[in-house]
């Protein structure tokens, strides 16, 4: 493949990944790494380096728009990101101690359970009244946004914050142990445990993934895993895609976002369980 063809192909692929990442709160890395390695024969280290930088690009583009519209909740994001970064540090420290295959199987089973839970509330547009939570009241973990699709102002309040915080810590540990992004886990913790509206969950995840990615991206940079000729077309494409994604999500229903999210959870669950069993899965 000629260099110009390669750069343009990676650029246009990244626009698609950025759009999907911005809507689902994943950052696009989950799509980019397999695409770059399988279809473009990019070295795995460079693909992961480009992916982590693309997460920051998606987050910068998408979170900026979501914060301004009130979809992303900065207080909930900052509160939970403490758990994620602490978990990532713990994971990095435990990486030589914990048997990773067992962990992958446990994580895969937890994700499979989450997929079933997501399926059960597939058509729930808004969470409605939720039980009072001491931590949510104390930290003011609530908000309001104008839903353009529903043409109404939506007020929401977090519940079961302790479980959400623990899930975020777990997501961080896995992130540090396995070197994976944890956007999907963040969305699940906010949607499933804390009962936030799905769009608030993905938008807040977009804000958080940029912070957690920045925490680990320095390591990728120092290791020499960031190749300028891959990261440039990826970041430019992903940022453009993130702007398209934010415009798109404002017009989507919470249920549509959840339906688009479900296959990702199923894929991740299968991928984790098979990896834990020693079967290679992209």
């Amino acid at each position: 493949m000629a260099p110009i063809t390669f750069l343009l192909a990676v650029f246009f692929t990244s626009i698609g990944a950025g759009t999907v990442g911005a809507v689902l709160g994943l950052g696009g890395g989950i799509l980019l790494v397999p695409i770059l390695t399988m279809f473009f024969q990019v070295d795995m280290h460079y693909a992961m380096g480009a992916s982590i930088i693309s997460v920051i690009a998606t987050s910068s583009g998408a979170a900026a728009a979501y914060l301004a519209t009130g979809l992303s909740n900065v207080r909930i994001g900052l509160f939970l990101v403490m758990a994620t970064i602490a978990g990532a540090l713990t994971g990095a420290l435990l990486s030589d101690v914990v048997p990773v295959p067992w962990l992958e199987i446990v994580l895969g089973l937890a994700l499979a359970y989450s997929a079933v839970a997501t399926l059960q509330q597939l058509n729930v547009e808004l969470p409605g009244d939720v039980p009072d939570d001491r931590l949510a009241v104390r930290f003011g973990l609530e908000g309001v946004y104008y839903d353009r699709r529903l043409a109404q102002e939506v007020k929401y309040r977090a519940t079961r914050v302790g479980r959400g915080f623990a899930a975020m810590y777990g997501a961080g540990v896995l992130s540090g142990l396995l070197g994976i992004g944890s956007g999907a886990f963040k969305v699940l913790a906010m949607d499933h445990f804390m009962r936030l509206p799905m769009k608030v969950s993905t938008a807040t995840s977009n804000f958080m993934i940029g912070i957690t990615a920045a925490a680990s991206a320095g390591i990728y940079f120092a290791r020499g895993d960031i190749h300028p000729l891959i990261v440039a077309p990826v970041s430019i494409g992903v940022l453009l895609g993130a702007y398209f994604g934010t415009a798109l999500m404002g017009r989507m229903r919470n249920t549509t976002v959840r339906k688009a999210f479900l296959p990702v959870v199923v894929y991740l669950a299968l991928s984790m369980i098979l990896r834990g069993l020693g079967i290679h899965f992209p």
């Binding site: 000629a2 260099p3 390669f6 750069l7 473009f40 024969q41 990019v42 070295d43 460079y46 930088i53 920051i56 690009a57 987050s59 910068s60 583009g61 979170a63 900026a64 728009a65 914060l67 301004a68 519209t69 009130g70 992303s72 900065v74 207080r75 900052l78 990101v81 403490m82 970064i85 602490a86 990532a88 540090l89 930290f139 309001v144 104008y146 102002e153 940029g210 912070i211 920045a214 925490a215 680990s216 991206a217 320095g218 390591i219 940079f221 120092a222 290791r223 020499g224 960031i226 190749h227 300028p228 000729l229 990261v231 440039a232 970041s235 430019i236 940022l239 702007y243 415009a247 404002g250």
Partner: protein
């Protein structure tokens, strides 16, 4: 989409959201703009004709086989920018550094904003997050 151009906002203390949104928006844009400029300069200097893209699967056994344009520290980037002629791929790397620092600056900017709006608890939360980020960056420097 400019953060100012987006929808309605009615939550109290929305100024903090707007401030972080601006930092993320302009930081992201600056980082990506630098990457675009670097890529264009690289192409104009004949990169597309002469440069073999060493991005395919390669056997990597350490820094000695690092392909040209892969930087691992800020001094390396600034050194290549101030060299004559400057390395266009160092401009791309500078964009990476700007992008990498954008969320950190966003969190740092939130601390005085929370203090001004009387939300000491969240100023402390943002302070803890910032400390963790800086600790991670220091660890990364040590790893490199």
């Amino acid at each position: 989409m400019s953060p100012r151009a987006c929808g309605r906002e009615s939550t109290p203390g929305a100024g903090i959201e707007r401030l972080i949104a601006r930092v993320l928006f302009w930081g992201g844009l600056l980082g990506v703009a630098l990457m675009l400029v670097g890529l264009l300069l690289w192409a104009l200097q004949g990169g597309l004709q002469s440069h073999v893209l060493e991005v395919r699967r390669t056997i990597r056994s350490g820094r000695s086989d690092r392909p040209p344009g892969v930087f691992v520290s800020l001094p390396e980037v600034t050194g290549s920018l101030t060299a004559r002629p400057p390395d266009p791929l160092a401009v791309v790397a500078l964009g990476v550094v700007v992008l990498l620092g954008t969320p950190v600056v966003g969190v740092a900017a939130a601390i005085p904003a929370f203090l001004r709006s009387g939300e000491r608890r969240y100023a402390a939360v943002a302070g803890i997050v910032l400390s963790m980020l800086l600790a991670n960056l220091l660890l990364a420097g040590g790893a490199g």
